[in-house]
């Protein structure tokens, strides 16, 4: 028996998150297998097989998994759990969607967004927007766990596990995929970027985000936003950083025109270096910033871009 990791992917590329989940899975002891459920997703299975510590990849390649609908994936995972002690997946919207369904069907409590494995049955997870850390011990025979990937190192890629094709589970036929409106960007993804620059309500318009983007391009950074900026329509929903958006922990996080509400801090306070640019010197964001610049962002951002150009970036 061992641990099943459910791969996060888009049918073509394996998400960086999965290599981090494998690192958490290895800490549980026992074999680590990866399940790839999707359609025409052989490349994802191959990438999964390379992850260090993975001993087998299960590939369920079928049209009913093309959009990884929660009902369908949950049915498949539950059917496999006779062979495993635990199932782990990343705390992405894909896994948050199907994992609790798996837990309920198995009659076990899900442990959400663990940041540390203390023992195979004991985990640390943040609660109250990260203002408290709870150590919980599970009494369930099998564990269903989502992993906050910001705190686990990705495993290497020297492995060569076998890929085994498995049959699809039955189609519950409860839901169907209609379409996507995915944000297209040549910039790095928020959850894997080394540098992030985020804009808040202080940006005043979506058009002004160009100022943030210009700096992002110099730094090869991802662009994020506060909830206020998303609600106001300045930025897309998938750019929201925070308790109820994405949790990030880059090397450098630059918050521009963001006040630093509890909910925003919950999503970025584990960044290595934090910079805040805000015209209000009392803004709470300065309390967590390594470097604070009290300035008008409309002046500071073009200056920052020019200064980075001088460095040859």
């Amino acid at each position: 028996m061992g641990t099943l990791v459910v791969a996060d992917h888009d049918n073509t590329n394996l998400s960086d998150a999965t290599a981090k989940v494998v690192s958490a899975a290895k800490q549980l002891g026992g074999d680590v297998h990866i399940l790839v459920a999707g359609q025409n997703c052989g490349s994802v299975a191959d990438a999964s097989a390379k992850l260090d510590g993975v001993t087998k990849v299960l590939l369920a390649d079928d049209a009913i998994y093309s959009a990884r609908l929660a009902e369908n994936v949950a049915e498949l995972v539950v059917g496999l759990m006779g062979d495993y002690d635990a199932v782990l997946s990343s705390a992405t919207t894909m896994s948050k969607n199907f994992m609790p369904r798996v837990a309920a069907l198995m009659d076990v409590a899900q442990i959400s967004e663990i940041v540390k494995v203390e023992a195979p049955d004991t985990f640390v997870r943040p609660i109250y927007a990260g203002n408290a850390m709870q150590t919980v011990q599970s009494s369930d025979a099998k564990k269903v766990i989502t992993v906050r990937t910001t705190t686990f190192q990705a495993v290497g890629q020297g492995g060569s596990a076998a890929v085994e094709k498995i049959a699809a589970a039955k189609d519950p036929g409860l839901s169907e995929y209609v379409g996507d409106r995915l944000s297209e960007s040549a910039r790095p993804q928020l959850t894997s970027a080394k540098i992030i620059i985020s804009g808040g309500r202080g940006m005043q318009s979506g058009d002004n985000f160009k100022l943030v983007e210009a700096v992002a391009d110099k730094l090869k950074a991802a662009v994020g936003a506060s909830r206020a900026a998303v609600d106001a329509g300045y930025a897309a929903n998938d750019m929201q950083v925070g308790q109820t958006g994405k949790v990030v922990a880059p090397e450098l996080y630059i918050a521009v025109g963001i006040s630093g509400a509890i909910q925003h801090l919950a999503g970025m306070k584990d960044s290595k270096v934090i910079v805040a640019i805000n015209k209000d010197e009392e803004a709470p964001i300065f309390q967590v910033s390594d470097y604070g610049l009290v300035a008008d962002l409309f002046k500071a951002l073009p200056e920052l871009e020019a200064e980075l150009t001088k460095l040859g970036l």
Binding site: A70, N97, T244
Partner: protein
Amino acid sequence: MKVLVPVKRVIDYNVKARVKADGSGVDLANVKMSMNPFDEISVEQAVRMKEAGTATEVIIASIGPAAAQETIRTALAMGGDRGILVKTDQTVEPLAVAKILKAITEQEGADIVILGKQAIDDDSNQTGQMLAALLGRSQATFASEVKIDGDKAEVTREVDGGLQTIRVQLPTVITVDLRLNEPRYASLPNIMKARKKPIDEKTPEDFGVDITPRLKVLKTTEPPTRAAGVKVESVQELVAKLRNEAGVI
């Protein structure tokens, strides 16, 4: 059709939670409590469905201590028709909450259950999905748009890469995200009216649900705190520090 909206009483979103000195949990004594903000969005969605003639009745349910009655009243003042309080002073984990909600959904014959995507205290993001699983129903999580169309619902969801639209079979379970709507404030007359709306009191035992926790909380601790750093005087100084001191650019 009938709509069930579970609402949870949680620490107010403006309050920063403090860990108790003895590590036994978070100090909630004398802390302002409110309805989970996502649940205000669910109530608003349900009430709008009633106003549009899609829903015939909006039932509000909460599982928690006696004070959760206030949270139900708030939802009734926003336009809910009646309430169900499942009273308990014990810890109720999402799986147990989902089991109780399953029983209520079946008893009431609710066609649609609308929940928050997550509660801002435990941040579990599980209850709705678990309920859908226990009921054997479809689920539409993190909704930013909901259209009911015959025996199906078309729901747009906020996902990591942007937006995804799915069509789910009714009856269903929906969990709401921030951009679905802007919840209304209850007017004074509606707050008065809500006082007369019925709230049924139940216990978990009434539904035959065992709420014994599966997770044992060993300890609760403060996260590592960050010390405030320095203020820089200019963009030049900032860039120099990031390059030479922090070494991040």
